[in-house]
């Protein structure tokens, strides 16, 4: 008893082939889109790899690029088969490959499900990488003379300006690191000496933030020094002052950017899975409809197409018995060898 059989005449077969061919071309475009999304994601990770300590995992974008290319190839082949399906001569050369092709498509769909899951799950890894990378970035802000870190200041300043954020969790992170290089500190000055001695590690700490934390939307010129000292500025209360500097932390800002990017990509891959499944079902119907023609010489005869030759349970048990026989043949072959030796 075939699973979900449908009767086809010539007109219906032609319509199915044409519709499926068009759908395969949409799938090729979807494959190209997945490929370009993968490249875009890779570029975005590379752009800010300094913020992530050059430690970020490129697994998801690489998988997306691979899957995009595979999708293009498989769907272009499927489209070609559909295009040739109405000509019996051309179709006969594709016929033997169809079963393997459909199995490949099944496997590819499973891969797509895996990629989509990864898009959602790898966000945790990105969060942890960002947290660690940003704390290092803030620490290396002052090292503009150390090779390998000399552009950290510029990268962090541009990130804070672009993402409207300050510090790791909030602006107070800047109070805990020395972000002015010793080259620009007058060590003979009493104020400097006091500050350096005031903490165990001998760091020049202050309650100030870099200029890139300033919010241009603030009505007053930016207050970046002596932030916690109300008397240092006229008409200033640091507890109620809201717009002066960005209050959001860069960890949150960068993570929300990457997380929304990865979620959108994951949703798009889910959509591609649905499209691929519809393609597979259509091709199965088309190939079975062409194989079961009552009179192979008469193209206008009726035929029947189905999704599975037997019911779902029967197909499943068939598969299991096949696997078992494969296993048994191996064992028998293993037993034959010692017999041959004796």
């Amino acid at each position: 008893m075939p699973f979900m059989p449908v009767k086809f005449n010539l007109q219906k077969r032609v319509k199915l082939a044409q519709g499926l061919w068009m759908l395969y071309w949409f799938s090729v475009i979807a494959g190209i889109l997945i490929f370009s999304l993968g490249i875009f994601f890779k570029i975005e990770l590379r752009k800010r790899s300094e913020m992530m300590d050059n430690n970020e995992s490129h697994l998801v974008p690489n998988l997306l690029i691979l899957v995009g290319l595979l999708a293009c190839g498989l769907n272009a082949f499927g489209g070609k088969v559909c295009h040739d399906s109405l000509d019996p001569i051309k179709f006969s050369k594709w016929k033997p490959m169809l079963k393997t092709y459909l199995l490949l498509c099944c496997g590819f769909n499973v891969l797509l499900v895996l990629v989509s899951l990864l898009c959602f799950l790898m966000q945790f890894s990105v969060y942890l990488t960002l947290a660690e990378g940003l704390s290092y970035a803030i620490r290396f802000y002052k090292d503009t003379d150390t090779p390998g870190r000399c552009f950290m200041k510029r990268t962090l300043d541009m990130t804070q300006i672009e993402f409207h954020c300050c510090g790791n969790n909030n602006f107070r992170d800047w109070f805990e690191v020395q972000w002015i290089s010793n080259r620009y500190l007058d060590m003979s000055n009493d104020v400097v000496k006091d500050r350096v001695l005031s903490n165990v590690e001998g760091k020049y700490l202050m309650d100030s933030v870099p200029f890139s934390c300033c919010n241009p939307g603030s009505p007053r010129p930016c207050i970046q020094h002596h932030l916690t000292n109300n008397s240092a500025h006229y008409d200033y209360d640091h507890r109620t002052e809201e717009l002066n500097i960005w209050t959001r932390g860069c960890l949150e800002a960068l993570f929300s950017y990457y997380s929304s990017l990865m979620s959108s990509i994951g949703v798009f891959v889910l959509f591609a899975i649905i499209l691929e499944s519809v393609d597979m079902a259509g091709l199965k119907y088309l190939s079975t409809a062409l194989e079961t023609m009552a009179e192979p010489e008469n193209p206008e005869c009726e035929s029947e197409g189905w999704l599975l030759e037997k019911g779902v349970k029967e197909t499943f048990s068939d598969l299991l018995t096949k696997l078992k026989t494969l296993g048994r043949t191996n064992q028998v072959e293993g037993g034959d060898a010692p017999e041959a030796n004796t």
Binding site: I180, Y184, R220
Partner: protein, 343 residues
Amino acid sequence: MALLPVKFDLKKRVKLAQTVWFMYWFAVLAGVLVLSMGLFFKIELRKRSELMDNNESHFLPNLLILMGLIACSINVFGGKVCYDSLDPDKFAKWKPMLKTYLVFCVGFNALLLVTAVLCFLMRIPMQFTLAEGLRNGMRYYKDTDTPGRCYMKRTLDLMQIEFRCCGNDNYRDWFEIQWVSNRYLDFSSKEVKDRIGSNVDGQYLMDGVPFSCCNPSSPRPCIQAQMTNNTAHYSYDHYTEDLNVWKRGCRDALLSYYGGMMNTIGALVILVTMLEASVTVGMQYVHSSLCNLANPEDPESESEGWLLEKTVKETFTDIMDKMKSMGKGVKVEEGEPAVETVS
């Protein structure tokens, strides 16, 4: 003696019509391109109209939008005529309109050329608009509590960050105006009173710049206050300090941005003009070759197509004569009623 005559048989005519139809579709795309460039330019001007004192001239983008729309419509019409040109019945209904259409196309091409020239020339009025607008922008930087100007500070800060510039000509422009609002100045402080008393206008001037002038590439944290005072900062010499704040003036930066945009648009409009001229020439050949069939009933007969029916000089004298006769016709009409009334 026709100008640039070419002999056509049926095959050549069909090929010509197909090529010209194809070119008309490219010309439609070119028209859409001109339209979108006009829209883009208009949006860019609107985005920064605050910095130009809301006084900028929208003449050029409006003209580009109009040109784009006209180009699209006449090219669609031309494509339709080309498509129908191989069927004598369909072509017969377009035939009478073609002469006027071609004259209109020539006029439109001339207008496109004028638009291209304008694109290159509009840089000059833009310079003046920007200079004045930026000067006012800097003066109103502190007025974040005045309605109509409260976003000037944010606009100016974002512009200085985006275009990597400081002040009008350079950063010293900020030393000459008060950019800290009086609401944030402690008038009981001696220092504030000294500064205000030190100049005629009673403005609080200082040798400092806003934070948006800071260059993130500077190796040291930004020095934006007391910039001309070397002793205020350790190891600082304001004559040799290069990277601390942006050196470029914002008028220069904005002018080069808009100038580059207008140059690109002008170059593209010139290319579109050349495309339009070539489709007009093609259409003239199609029209003349179909009008001169040796045997009007036989579509496969030979014919001759040309660019102008007579040579350039003769065509020019013909047009002058026509214009003179039109003028004389008007005079004669005016004279006749006078004669009637007198007699």
